[in-house]
Symmetry: D2
Subunit: 350 residues, 4 copies
């Protein structure tokens, strides 16, 4: 049953596969009269593109976003905005060997069980390629939020066990890992390099922080801002965990430690991550997502084929040793999409 | 905008406040001909009830579930099942002092900012009382899942920093904390007792495990099983984090460590937590939720009043030192609800 | 799959059967701070009640609406408003003879085919009793619309072939048929009386007119105001047709006749029924619904039993010879609900 | 707020404008393994194309459907199917004169009030061009329904006051008006010709009949099959009325006339139009839609400009004198889409 839409007021529906014609998104509910052009997508799309880090495999993904509908005379029309990003470089020959084998850690097996097939050409719909459409939608979400003094930052808090010791927003775009602490960038590079050499991959933790978010966003009890953020973030393929504010650490604090004291000028601490009772409280919204290591590794693995027979699989060719930097702009987009949705929803009851 | 419904095929809509007439839920989409009576709810409702642990404040919540509609001659009719649980013990006098002050860590402030009021009588809609309706809906979800060989266990993995060293399902109902490791129960009791004495509260981690779940549940890319579980779990008031399988630990594993090898008889490990690409893979579904310490503490706190003036607040009277045991049946219910929803959704495309 | 909710911003979920405990509705998305009490429902509920026309069977339905949740200190709280109307007079003995026979024109057969059962006690969920919950929700919808200078009138345009020759709003509440033309009331009474004597029933046409509706309501291309009105009205059991503005007559007009000329002071005619391109144009919204004759008649009919064997059925006892007057407040409610939903939806994009 | 999606299990989201790059649709929820190719769309798209009747203005719309996603190795993948139909012939020069004037009977005025703009180049999103995407989605819906012995016929029951005297399905494709009665085709042509000569337009009535529909489709009380059909049909721009079975005629029948007697071999009559209590009863589903005359006429009309000043408007150039034949395949598509949605929904509860 239909599961490719997200959001209620600002609603996105994505489509497309890694080795088909392209990926895209229809954005429904965007207010009219917002300036929007294809150039607006360039910088965010570039940030998501593979081939950015020194160790990534160079690819020819240019990820030009084409506006198929919804913009008239340079501004949004109030009608659905369809965006399309054509796939480049879609030779499926290297994937032929995968026609019969399930790749461990990938969705091949579950797609096969559910749909009776799996797209051996790089995962099809389950590929990270799908997130390009999310990033494009995130750009439009940011436009919707322009009337607010909102700023969303996303960055690599940790990669391969190397964690940023402090957060310097200015550093984020100064290094290929979107790490907010320049002091650990070399260590991250080293860990990544070592993984790559051994044909292995590493994961990490991405943090997203939204400052300037007004109080009142979120619709209890199910469409709480926290709940929709959790869903949006967990729906990204590589994510296996999400926490808000103190998150799992809160489980070990006492109430007197975890409660954020309130003062006339604001909250003294922010263990709540900007959300109380599922509604934004005006403080920074803070969330972290656990990103698993990319399952495509160049190391011999135990698997089975379509008929359930045992098999060995050793992938070859180009590969990325970590998805973490690429996930950064994707999570930024998802947070923007959730906030835009709740911003429009809040307006309906004011 | 409407945010009190959850699920698409098995859809629940909850209502009610802590100090109104009661809380309830309408379940829409439940198949017909399933035996259901008011007695079916008794045991699960009892597990959620406060006053269970030796240290909880005794309360008279009997939480009898009344079936208002949807059952005819002892079986579900295919029509909406409305369940209602009357509030007992709803004297609001002790809360009068809270009429003007926001309780730190509670939703008073955000409800006030969003709705122009807050329910000083125990939180109203944001109260844990609301979860009684979820537990009732979870009972019906389990009935829907009866054709499957499914078993859902939920338990306190950790409380106040004390963690179960191993999982013994038989132990869960043998102690008031739903702890699966009898060896740490006394330590948990001690930590809880110490917190209570100091007027403070503690949090913990709840784990839920579903065995016997068929492969194929989950609707990528947004209604992934993992994403809907994350939303369902994060929508519970006390939860600040959720992870699936290896979760945040996966961020520190390599791909070769984290990938679950596949064999003709199943997966060798289960770092995926039973979900690949957002679809169940037939292995156990495993998730953990971080439960924050209850914000109602008997310790003097810094806060503000409705006009933003500084104030001090020291709650008095009965209180629970931890919500963790009560959250256990709630999360069990949410997992059952999500799985029931996806079970019915899967049927629509087979 | 769940089908008992209607609306997106102002969302109602109804439940209940004719011979269960009662019928009810959960209203989700209602803004906060709107005064609401149980007395507010009395007059509209009275209008829907059977036993109003001189020829109706007297019944003891008092239809008192109980507010189960969502109101705090006399105003809406922004939380779901649950309303419940207990059934009175629910002896099912007279229905026992219907346990095995499908009543022609009723939903017995289709419920049996779909759900494996049918509620022989007056139709259960398919009974007109279900509309009581809609009328209650309509009262809340009208409250939501209070900031607008909106007035919704509903009336019996035609019954048993007798049609009102002109529309006098003041007449509507002056006669038991809600007929806007006092000159034809006696004729309607006569036709109804004749039908009743012969054990037969009659249908009619209900017209609803909303004046003062602002331009801009409706969300093309599927959630057009006209489309949602059509769905809302057609979802009422007795309705078999719906038309807006000139409706079916427009099929026989030319473009030059049907187009409404525009002037600085408004539209010169209103063939559009206040809706152009699915969006309200500021003029009166006008719709008409065809109400079929009640299928319960006291005349011998050909039918089958559960096993498909031929049978004869002659109902006995009390019966109403027409549902038309009772449908009037129901359609008024549905129009109010649709307009309230679109009013809140419009606000989200302004 | 988002209003461009329709359906819940088989869910379509359309996008695009008459003078942008094209129109399209994303179909979400289509089961996997259904053969689908771009050639499958050719015949239905051709039937919707303007320029079919002898009197239509020739246009170069080829309406080739491009499959952007969701098909893998010739069969549906279970992933969203995105279809795109490029616009041809989109010179907007002839429309420049309309930049400031609202065309009577069109959505220019209401779009301007709602969105702050209107697409003077042929209506933009409100153009009949939008229905091309519906027809394409209808083709996929028919594929979903292939396991059923279902046949959907749509035809012009009446045009310009000329009504088919009987229904001969074989005649439908034998004449440019999709009229099921060859005996009245010449009269229709004559009426259409006369309208065209005078620069005027005519409307009509389209009937759709689905045979072989299984009993059990429809989800009371709001997502009744009748209610969703009414919404789907009324959401088509030109439609101003919809009726099912006896429809408005039922308002003038008695219960004994209108009830369809049941026999062991089926219903004796079909006043219900195949739907009882909102659920299909296994008999033919029959609905009729009132199609208004096209508002674009070559006759001088009274209107206003953007500032509200009075103006005169006389359109010039090519025009179609009736939309009725073009609406026929669109309504066929909408009925197929609704039935496919309910077919998948029914499966979820079996």
């Amino acid at each position: 049953m239909a599961g490719n839409s997200f959001g209620k007021a600002f609603k996105i529906t994505t489509f497309g596969e890694s080795h088909g014609k392209g990926v895209g998104v229809v954005i429904d509910g965007c207010p009219s009269r917002i300036p929007l052009s294809e150039d607006d997508f360039v910088s965010e799309m570039a940030r998501r593109r593979p081939g950015r880090t020194p160790l990534d495999t160079p690819r020819s993904e240019t990820d030009r976003v084409e506006i198929l509908s919804g913009v008239f005379e340079g501004v949004t029309a109030g009608t659905p905005i369809a965006l399309f990003i054509r796939n480049q470089d879609v030779r499926s020959e290297p994937y032929e060997m995968l026609r019969r084998l399930f790749r461990p850690g990938h969705a091949d097996y579950t797609y096969f069980k559910k749909y009776g097939h799996f797209d051996f050409r790089g995962g099809g719909r389950s590929s990270a390629r799908e997130t390009a459409a999310r990033v494009a939608a995130g750009v439009v979400a940011q436009k919707v939020l322009a009337p607010l003094e909102l700023r969303i930052m996303a960055y690599t808090l940790e990669m391969g066990g190397i964690r940023a010791a402090h957060i310097d927003f200015d550093a984020i775009l100064e290094n290929p890992f979107y790490c907010p602490d320049m002091a650990v960038v070399d260590k991250m590079k080293e860990v990544l390099s070592r993984a790559k050499e051994s044909g292995d991959s590493i994961g990490g933790i991405v943090e997203v922080r939204a400052t300037g978010c007004p109080a009142g966003l979120g619709e209890p009890v199910f469409d709480k801002l926290s709940a929709d953020l959790a869903k949006g973030v967990m729906s990204v393929g590589a994510v296996k965990g999400v926490e808000i504010g103190a998150g799992f650490e809160a489980a070990r604090l006492t109430g007197s430690q975890n409660n954020d004291p309130m003062t006339p000028t604001g909250f003294k601490t922010n263990h709540a991550g900007g959300i109380l009772g599922g509604i934004s409280n005006g403080d920074d919204i803070i969330l972290r997502a656990a990103v698993k290591p990319i399952p495509s590794i160049m190391i011999d693995q135990e698997t089975i084929d379509r008929e359930g027979h045992p098999a060995r699989l050793k992938l070859e060719g180009r590969f990325d040793a970590s998805a973490v930097p690429r996930v950064v702009p994707v999570l930024k987009a998802m947070v923007a999409i959730v906030i835009a949705d709740h911003y429009l929803r809040l307006k309906s009851i004011l």
